[in-house]
Structures are given as C-alpha cells and as structure tokens.
Amino acid sequence: MNRVPPLSAARAALVRCHACHLLSRMQAPPPGGRVLCPRCGAALHQRKPDSLARAWALTLTACILYIPANTLPIMTVVSMGYGEPSTILSGVQTLIVAGMWPLALVVFIASVAVPVLKLLALIYLLVSVRRKSRWRPRDRTVLYRITESVGRWSMVDVFMIAILAALVKLGSIATIEPGAGALAFAAVVVFTMLAAMSFDPRLIWDAMENPDER
C-alpha cells in the first residue's frame, strides 16, 4: 500500500480561519492591511501571530509571579486581635494537620501541582518547538491539550478566598483579610492561560514536514 505523505494546509497554500474554520486560499495581504476570512470576517493567519515570542513572554511573567504567589500570604485570619498569615503551602499543611486529607489533596493538586506542571509543560513545549524536535509529536500535542484545559482549576484557592472574605461582617469573632499573595496567584493562573492560548500546536507539526531542513 502506498503511503500518501501527509499534507498540511500551509503546504497546500491554504489557510484555516481560526474562528470559523473555513479553509481559503492564501493571499498576500494588501499593503498595510490584513486578509480577512471570506465567511466570518476574522483576520486570517497561517499560524497564531508571534506565537513563540508571546508564549515565552507570558510564561516567563507567570514564572516570576509564581515567587510572590508562594511567599506572600494569600490571606490572614485575624481572631481575637491575633493575626495568622497563611500562604498556599501552609494552607495545605493546615488541612493535613486538621486531618482533612481529601480536601488537602484537592487544594494541593489545584494550587501546587497544576501550576508547576503547567509552567514546566509550557517551557518544555516552547523549547522543543524552538529546537525543531521530531520526537513524539502526537504526545506533545496531547500534552498541549491537557495544559490548555487544566489550568483553570488553579483558581479554586482564589474563589475560596473570595467566599471567606465575605465573612467580614462577623468581625467580632474573626476576620479574614485577603493578602497580596492571592493577587499574585490569580495573575499566575491568568498569565499561564494566556500563554497556553498564544502557543500554536501546529508549530509542533511544522518541524515534521520539512525533513530536509534539518
């Protein structure tokens, strides 16, 4: 059986609309203008524009913000005039000490494991694309899909703080002050989501199609 070599839309001089998925013929943009999709009017790009540069910038920003997100307190529980700041890790620790194992596991996965693994996955994908790696492109695409869909779950801690902050009116007993760490943490989640969105998984496959370029 003859194996037909895989043909990408880019090599066939076609471009896929990112919004409505219509394939149309690639055209040179008019000077100073953009080519628009004939069906839905979105700007057409062969690949997401500046995908690697944007994804790198957003990933590195998230990495830097990850430090204050873990060192600054995400909230301070003030009871009877005595304040106890807690960070993300100490929050998990408190749950373990209190014997709330399932909850500790949920918070650990959402707030510690997911952000770290997501940042590592993004850096790995970016490095592998830059080095034009030809290693297991299908698995790397799956890794990208997981990275893109799982990041939102890290917001759990931020939402929990929003609920606890609403308890302010019980001031006589205890108040919960949200801390700067919570803001840094929310920013890490938002920036990694933006980084995953600007990464174009088709770049993984572009390296597979030009064997002579290597």
Binding site: P6, L7, S8, A9, A10, L14, R16, A19, C20, H21, L22, L23, R39, C40, G41, A42, L95, A98, M100, L103, V106, V107, A110, P137, R138, T141, V142, Y144, R145, E148, R152, W153, M155, V156, D157, V158, F159, M160, A162, I163, L164, A165, A166, L167, V168, K169, L170, I173, A174, E177, P178, A182, L183, A186, V190, M193, M197, P201, R202, W205
Partner: protein, 196 residues
C-alpha cells in the same frame, strides 16, 4: 478542512448522527454530528440562563455563628474584595465567575434563537466568535469547587446551611456542560454561509 492542532488537510465526509470525525495524524476532534443540535442547545441555554439568575439572586451559604446569621452570595464575595481595595482581584473574580458565563449564555441565545426561527441574527459572525473567546474564562465549575473548599474549611467553626443558589449553581454547571456538548459550531457556520 484542516485540523486545528496539526494543520493536516482532511476531506470532509458526511457523518451519521452521533458520529465523530477525528484527525488521522494527531487525534484531535474535528467535527461531529449531533441530533437536533440547534434546538437542544437553545433549550439548554435557556435553562442555563434561568439557573444563572437563581444562582446569583439567592445566597450560596448561610453562615450561622453565636446567634448571628450571614448570607454569602457570589456578588457579596466580589464586593468585599472590592471594599478592601483589592479591586484587581475583585475584577478577576467578577469576570470569571459572573460576567463571562453570563455573556456566553446570552451570546448563545442571541445566535441560536433567530437561527431556530430561520432568521439570520445581525452580526452573527462576530457574536459567535465571542463565544469561543469567552469559553476558557467562564469558570463556573471551578467556582463551585472553591465554594465547597470554603464550606468544608468553615464547617468546624460554625454551622453552615447550603442556600438555594448552591443547588442552582450545581445545576447550572450541568446545563452549561450539556450546552457545550450539544453545540455544533460547524452547523452554525454553515447556516451563515447558506444565508449570505
């Protein structure tokens, strides 16, 4: 058509109801055919809108401690963050827990209702593009997990009674997931093409 994840060209073939087409090279889901997609999605989006109103109009948790009662709702959490000058955090929570889900439901209704009546909504392409943009920022299900974590954390210091909104929220998540499952973007875009 071309695959969204690896750009492979694939021939589009008619599918039987319930079938899905996947990319031969990377395994991405390309398109599917679902029974009565527009009608079902419209019904689900309408129920999602009603549940959304309930989930935001009623308290999530009733917090009872030493004779005091405090009702916590989605918006009161946002409001307290804002009142403490953490307005960036308040804005993030507001957008992903209230604004994005609401806009997504409204945009779906705006596109689907006229299509169901065989009419073309004004600026349909633009509104339908928003739905895809809004999708990752609507974090209703994550918010509910955050509420449950807060619930368990507080349950040993006070009595907490789940409010109407908590149940409405749980059903809202089911309705929104079902909406995503029955929606067929390919069909909607083809409606746009034929009516031009």
């Amino acid at each position: 058509m071309a695959c969204q994840d690896c750009d492979l060209l694939c021939r589009k073939r008619p599918l039987r109801v319930g079938e899905k087409a996947r990319c031969a090279r990377c395994g991405a889901l390309l398109y599917a055919r679902k029974p009565n997609s527009i009608e079902r999605t419209l019904t689900l989006a309408l129920s999602a809108l009603i549940l959304f109103v309930l989930a935001n109009a009623y308290p999530l948790l009733d917090f009872r401690f030493q004779g005091q009662t405090l009702e916590i709702s989605v918006i009161s959490g946002v409001w307290e963050l804002y009142a403490r000058e953490m307005w960036v955090l308040a804005a993030v929570v507001f957008v992903v827990s209230i604004l994005a889900p609401l806009l997504k439901i409204l945009a779906l209704l705006y596109v689907l209702l006229p299509l169901w009546l065989d009419r073309q909504p004004w600026r349909m392409a633009r509104v339908f593009r928003w739905i895809e943009t809004l999708h990752p920022w609507a974090m209703t299900e994550v918010y509910l997990l955050g509420v449950l974590v807060a619930y368990v954390k507080l349950s040993d210091i006070a009595t907490i009674v789940p409010g109407v909104a908590l149940y409405a929220f749980a059903m809202l998540i089911v309705a929104m997931a079902a909406t995503d499952a029955t929606l067929e973007p390919e069909t909607i875009w083809e409606c746009l093409e034929t009516q031009r």
